[in-house]
């Protein structure tokens, strides 16, 4: 079968991955059977509870984060010295690795971990008992996982895409990459993107409809604000990506000519991709901003400085992020007018971002700063992110960008912003919310080791990369000559990457140790200031019973300072209805199978599987859990 054709001459890394996965799989199965965890797995497969779905988002996001992280170590090993031949990672193998690294980090690591944190924390922050559409939430999660599995299968079949995460046409067209590799990219990203759109809709409606009594928009914690704004951005940006991938799919499978040939235009793809791609950067950053706002406020024991301007600036950033996409295309030949316009719009983003930075700094002023692990990640973020921000302004200077563009300077820049905001933010939030997810608090000493090693490794990796780029090293090249002046800085970068790798081992050790000791903590282990710290750890299935009344931006801190309990009420909007179901899992996995059928152009099989997906749609349309709960007449009343 053509699916397995490439396996005949599989390189040793693919064989090693098969062996590793087989052994790990057997060990996991033995552990599951021995500990009798099958019912738990069955429960999670059917759940629609926001904390459980959030936990799965974070867990699988973290697994893909590890895989993409290992890819980055392969990249750094190949680049450690001039004219190097590390293992198999040259030419197309190298191209596969950086494509996988980029695509996985963005779509299958950063996005799901952020969506997971929103799932876990946002309902608790605003006093919602669950997301507005629990069933849709499960569909969204399983679609993400299904897409991620489709994308990952490619590597195991020795058919990983090698087109860069940006998938520029016409290289991504069937004329230049006719094999299944690129189709795995198209279908993997498309399917998981669909799930992301569903989840965004869900989060948006939840924030708008399910806030606790008294929680006006201007009393909402900034992470929930970030969730709301990000959801709107996802809805717009991921739709554009879906359209782009859809057209690319037609170009590849059915020989349409959107991005190739005399009537097609490869620049169209770049426009579509970056109209998605630039907002995507802020889709990753804004939730992290929200996390840092809450963490800094908690551990400075102070409300956030300039709350109103914080809210206005995230809305401004979100709006402006849709006006700057062509700064990724300054060397495309759009002409001086557009080059200047997009330079200016890009520069304006620095203003609201600057406001946020100074508001965080002035939140610290006059505070009582506790250096807990989540706070360290938040504090590490501020100077690191500003360094990425200033190179961002430098890149916006369009004529200077002719030099920076697609060099390692750019690679340094976007790793500075994405790692400093998104990844430090995710780590901060994992330490911060671990009690809400599991009821356990992660070890602080190991957490600090994790933080310092990661932060130092991060700067050691990416700071020298600016210089590598200014010395003229283009990105996505697997080799360089000794005389080109890239040797020293590349070597330092590789050392830094391994420091980051080691820091993750400390995190692992921390997770194992914490669960081994199994010391439960109470609802409020951090001396929190907002609603989520009134709920038990881990958060139960039925939260906010009775419903609290919110009278301040930091209602819990206010109540504590006044030495009283928070007021409660029984008058509130009806809550979303949870109903365990295996259909979300089945529907998503079937769609994944459909993607694979399309990848290999098995159209008859695709038709059959597609019909099954459609049958699931109909099945869902005919069931409504609200009927059972409210009675037939009031169905849909929530």
């Amino acid at each position: 079968m053509e699916m397995f054709e490439n396996l005949a001459d599989a390189p040793s890394d693919v064989i090693a991955a098969w062996i590793f996965t087989a052994i790990a799989g057997i060990l996991v199965i033995i552990w599951v059977l021995k500990k009798r965890k099958l019912p738990v797995i069955w429960e999670y497969m059917r759940t629609t509870n926001h904390r459980k779905i959030g936990t799965m988002y974070i867990l699988f996001g973290f697994i893909f984060f590890l895989r993409a992280g290992i890819d980055s170590l392969f990249i750094r090993m190949q680049l450690i010295s001039p004219n190097n031949d590390f293992w198999v990672f040259q030419a197309d193998k190298y191209n596969e690795v950086f494509t996988t690294h980029g695509t996985m980090m963005i779509f299958f690591a950063a996005m799901p971990m952020l969506l997971g944190l929103m799932n876990v924390a946002m309902p608790l922050q605003i006093g919602a008992r669950d997301l507005a559409f629990p069933y849709l939430n499960a569909v969204g999660f399983w679609l993400f996982l299904s897409g991620a599995i489709v994308f990952n299968i490619a590597f195991f079949l020795n058919s990983a895409p090698a087109i860069g995460w940006t998938g520029y046409a016409p290289l991504s067209n069937s004329l230049f990459t006719p094999d299944a590799n690129t189709d795995f990219y198209v279908f993997g990203v498309q399917i998981s993107g669909l799930g992301t759109i569903f989840t965004a809709l869900n989060l948006m409606v939840t924030v708008i409809r399910h806030r606790a009594p008294g929680m006006s928009f201007m009393r909402m914690p900034l992470f929930s604000w970030a969730t709301l704004v990000t959801s709107f951005m996802i809805l717009l940006a991921f739709t554009v990506l879906a359209i782009g991938l859809y057209l690319l799919m037609f170009d590849r499978l059915f020989d349409t000519k959107f991005f190739q040939g005399p009537d097609g235009d490869p620049v169209f793809w770049q426009h579509l991709f970056w109209i998605f791609g630039h907002p995507e950067v802020y889709i990753l950053a804004i939730p992290a901003f929200g996390i840092f706002s809450d963490v800094i406020s908690t551990f400075a024991s102070k409300r956030i400085f300039g709350y109103a301007s914080m809210v206005i600036s995230i809305i401004l950033i979100a709006f402006l992020s849709f006006t700057v996409w062509a700064h990724h295309m300054l060397v495309v030949g759009l002409g001086p007018m557009l080059n200047t316009f997009f330079a200016f719009t890009t520069m304006t983003i620095a203003v609201p971002t600057g406001i946020k930075i100074f508001n965080w700094l002035f939140t610290l002023r006059g505070g009582l700063i506790r250096f807990t692990t989540p706070m360290l990640f938040a504090l590490g973020f501020i100077p690191s992110f500003v360094m990425g921000g200033v190179t961002g302004v430098m890149l916006s200077v369009s004529a200077a960008d002719f030099q920076f563009h697609d060099s390692h300077f750019l690679v340094a820049h976007f790793h500075y912003v994405i790692l400093a905001s998104t990844i430090l933010g995710i780590f901060s939030a994992i330490y911060y919310y671990y009690p809400k997810i599991t009821g356990l608090k992660l070890n602080e000493t190991l957490g600090k080791w994790h933080f310092w090693l990661f932060l130092i490794g991060f700067h050691v990796t990416f700071f020298p990369m600016h210089i590598t780029g200014l010395n003229g090293m283009p990105r996505r090249t697997f080799t360089y000559d000794a005389g080109e002046g890239f040797t020293t800085t590349n070597f330092i970068s590789t050392i830094g990457a391994f420091l980051m790798g080691i820091s993750i081992l400390f995190m692992f050790w921390n997770l194992v140790k914490t669960h081994w000791e199994n010391k439960k903590v109470g609802p409020d282990p951090w001396d929190g200031r907002t609603l989520e710290w009134t709920v038990d750890s881990p958060s139960p299935e039925n939260t906010f019973e009775p419903m609290p009344v919110v009278d301040d931006l930091n209602p819990l801190a206010k109540a504590k300072n006044e030495n009283r309990k928070m007021e409660t009420t029984n008058e509130h909007r009806s809550s979303p209805i949870a109903r365990d179901s295996i259909i979300p899992f089945l529907i998503s996995m079937t769609l994944g199978v459909f993607g694979i059928c399309m990848t290999y152009e098995w159209y008859i099989a695709a038709f059959v599987v597609g019909a099954v997906v459609f049958a699931f749609f109909i099945l869902r349309a005919l069931t409504d859990e609200k009927n059972d709960y409210y009675g037939k007449d009031e169905g849909g009343a929530s």
């Binding site: 191209n95 024991s301 709350y307 060397v331 080059n339 200047t340 190179t391």
Partner: protein
């Protein structure tokens, strides 16, 4: 905190020491020099911002840290400060305007495009990129592969086109890059290149051997240039 300070100091020193040798910051053409000027200007302005943030950050983090003495303190409830917030909105805007003006000027001079540099005088070269080589066609119709020779002092005008996927034409020592597309020809100009030997490369990922899609560049005297053209 000490560790952060140490890293910043160390990298700062190595940055300053290395700047004189960094390719892009020491370019060998007027076009490249204008680009380097913008890089230096933006770096200087941004360095100002960086210093302010670092100083405030270090000051606040050290001064307001938790100590045994402050154990029972409850921080004053501050909502915000309109004047302060206004200040750090206005100052960045002013800094950005200072940066935006030369950006616009140089971008208008240098931007590549399908209709750019139509009336410009200079040595014209047709550049064709394909997986994974460069063809250069000179004014006399002769061609050379993976080797570009230019006369010193004269503006070089490139008409760039790809035969297959997107490539990007980049000679870091001379000036910034410009993409090559299969469906249209872009024009780019490098002014007053200086004598020397440089390395050109493809800067847009184009497939398996993208890393090896390089070419040699020689900027020579007018006479040597004529000799080279005659020998082709």
């Amino acid at each position: 905190m000490k560790r952060i300070g140490f890293i910043i100091m160390l990298t700062g020193i190595s940055l300053l020491a290395g700047c004189s040798q960094i390719t892009v910051l020491d370019p060998k053409s007027d076009t490249g020099k204008d680009q380097a000027y913008l890089i230096w200007l933006s770096l200087a302005i941004m360095f100002l911002v960086l210093i302010v943030v670092f100083i405030l950050f270090t000051w606040f983090v050290i001064k307001y840290r938790y100590t045994e003495k402050r154990k029972y303190e409850i921080p004053v409830d501050v909502i915000g400060d309109k004047r302060l917030e206004f200040t750090y909105t206005i100052i960045p805007i002013i800094l950005l305007i200072i940066l935006a003006i030369p950006t616009a000027r140089i971008t208008f001079e240098q931007s590549p495009g399908t209709e750019a540099f139509q009336d410009a005088e200079g040595v014209e070269v047709n550049v064709t990129g394909k997986q994974f080589q460069w063809d250069f066609e000179y004014e006399n119709g002769e061609e050379d592969t993976n080797k570009l020779v230019l006369p010193e002092g004269e503006p070089a005008i490139f008409h760039l086109k790809s035969e297959d996927v997107v490539h990007s034409f980049w000679i870091p020592e001379l000036a910034g890059k410009v993409d090559l597309y299969p469906h249209e020809t872009l024009t780019y100009r490098i002014e007053n290149p200086e004598k020397g030997e440089y390395e050109g490369k493809c800067a847009e990922f184009c497939g398996a051997q993208h890393a090896n899609m390089t070419f040699d560049v020689e900027v020579v005297s007018e006479d040597e240039y004529e000799d080279y053209l005659d020998d082709l």
